[in-house]
Amino acid sequence: MFSIFRKPAWPEIPLEDIKKRTRLLVIDDAEFPYQELFKRDGYTIERWADVLDLPKLEAGAYDIILLDLQGVGRQQSAEQGLGILRHLRQVSPSQIIIAYSSADWPLKYQEFFRLADEVLAKSSDYVDFKRKVDDLLKQRFSLGFYVNRVRTLVAEHLQGSDQLDRVVRRSIQDRSPEKLQKYLQGKITDPQVINAAANVVRTAIAAWSLWKS
């Protein structure tokens, strides 16, 4: 079959390649001994002792953020880690965040763990950290991840459907967030939700472009 009109397929990317091109960030006021192990294993990883550059986080500069609950983000939010997480969920919905804490017990903190993509106890073994990071990195570079993110974003306004999934996929493959915006404008009245969904598509397009460059 002549493929001049065939839409480009989402690439299958080996984990080793993903690792080389991704950036991890740990936000924790305490030391993070696994940082050197991640570096040894080929990851690019940084640690901030506090939220040093919020705009950078909002811009999606990191593929995965390991965010501590307590002792960080005090300047930006009285709720510390939870406030940062809630904010990033609004402005950068496709940002992958691992809730990483030793205070996972009281129910009052449950929102922190519920809003996060994954939860890790600080006392987890390195192998657990690495497994979760690898799983999330694979997800980050899969089309399904972005489709699910859009579905979650619009869930309050629009029931998930095959048609919605198709529109999201097409928007990403055609590099046209406007297609999704147009589709959602006919069904959702909240412009913030529509913009957030379009931003997810933009992030997906950027991630895809990474592999074509």
Binding site: Y34, L37, W105, Q110, K122, S123
Partner: protein, 376 residues
């Protein structure tokens, strides 16, 4: 003593510092501005106040006053009182009878109150509200005492992360199990001790945050067998220090449904107790029995005698068995309470049985068992 009994008392009296007239004799007018000698006196004998009136202290909180006894003291004030307050003159035996009547009424009333109190306490104990109320009352104290737990958890996390780094550097390229097999005993001991400490802290956290035990969001099906084996693995090195090799008898492939944050406290507590009270070289058996509908977990070990009245009490919060306390002075006494509480939340209960005879130097064969509904 209740004030309720006293409206029928014939003589003026003071009860709990409150002055009241009697139904037969009124309070003398001079008592309104007197020095209250009657109330200050501690003698049990009949006394005489500066106004010439007699009084008698019946108990710490009860004094009869404002009467005049003819045969008593012949002071000028008394003579004046005898002359001016003829209505207040009484005979000694009238006072004595009033005192006896008062004592009998108080005694009967006291018995009635005691019976009511006992009934209320019995009901309170029966419906287990006392445990919740007790915990609610002591929670601020627990929170103060356990305020270090968060710091401890941070320290433990740091130890765990650093021993992981050591193992990764010394034994690269293999998985954690292989690293631990190859590790020096000291390295492995640090690793397992950090796991053990964390499990103990998690039990303490449940006491601080009991709302986690009943949190429906935490309920899901899981394999009990795997959970128990996880704890055995954590405790293996601790058992080894006592030359104990726990035996696992039976198997279970089914799942139970429960709070994943809370159910671990059951196997953890039972295994922890077996370790704590077993003497060197004693036998510890972890048993599984499974039917289509139930999964039974039992932990059997040798331990201190549980006295007849303690089979229920050992599940009460902060209660520690008498023999257990003698054998092991240290112990918080909330593990079994929490384990039983979690079991009750799942509609089951932990039972304990003990062989009657001490079988040598190991102590008494003690078996804790609990049956869970099998989910699938």
């Amino acid at each position: 003593m209740e004030k309720l009994v006293l409206p029928f008392f014939p003589f003026p009296h003071v009860i709990h510092g409150e002055r009241r007239p009697g139904y037969a004799l009124d309070t003398p007018s001079c008592c309104a501005h007197c020095g209250r000698n009657c109330e200050k006196s501690n003698t049990a004998d009949i006394g005489l106040c500066p106004h010439g009136f007699n009084f008698v202290r019946q108990s710490q909180e009860f004094v009869i006053f404002g009467f005049v006894i003819q045969s008593q003291n012949t002071s000028a004030a008394h003579k004046k009182a005898l002359h001016q307050h003829r209505r207040n003159i009484v005979k000694r035996d009238q006072i004595e009878r009033a005192c006896q009547t008062f004592e009998a009424v108080v005694r009967d009333f006291g018995s009635e109150i005691e019976a009511k109190k006992k009934a209320i306490i019995d009901e309170y104990c029966r419906n287990k509200r006392y445990e919740r109320d007790f915990l609610d009352n002591i929670r601020p104290e627990i929170q103060r005492s356990f305020s270090f737990l968060h710091d401890y958890r941070q320290f433990i996390a740091r130890v765990r992360q650093n021993i992981n780094v050591v193992l990764e550097h010394r034994y690269p390229g293999v998985d954690l199990d292989q690293q631990l097999s190859a590790a020096l005993p000291a390295e492995a001991a640090i690793y397992w001790a950090s796991l053990l400490m964390e499990e103990k802290l998690q039990t303490a956290f449940l006491l601080l945050h009991p709302e986690r035990i009943t949190d429906p969001a935490q309920v899901s099906p899981f394999r009990l067998h795997g959970l128990v084996l996880k704890y055995l693995r954590i405790y293996n090195s601790a058992f080894a220090t006592k030359d104990i090799k726990p035996k696992v008898v039976g198997n279970s492939i089914g799942e139970i449904k429960g709070n994943r944050a809370a159910v671990p406290v059951i196997p953890h507590t039972l295994i922890d107790n077996a370790l704590k009270y077993s003497v060197r070289g004693a036998e510890v058996v972890i048993g599984f029995e499974e039917s289509d509908h139930e999964i039974e977990l039992s932990v059997s070990s040798y331990g201190p005698k549980i006295h007849g009245d303690e089979f229920e009490k050992i599940f009460q919060v902060f209660y520690r068995g008498r023999s257990a306390t003698l054998q092991e002075e240290e112990g918080a006494g909330f593990g079994l309470y929490l384990a039983q509480f979690v079991a009750n939340q799942m509609g089951t209960r932990i039972k304990v049985s003990q062989a009657e005879n001490n079988t040598g130097s190991f102590g008494f064969r003690t078996t804790f068992s609990v049956r869970f509904t099998r989910e699938r």
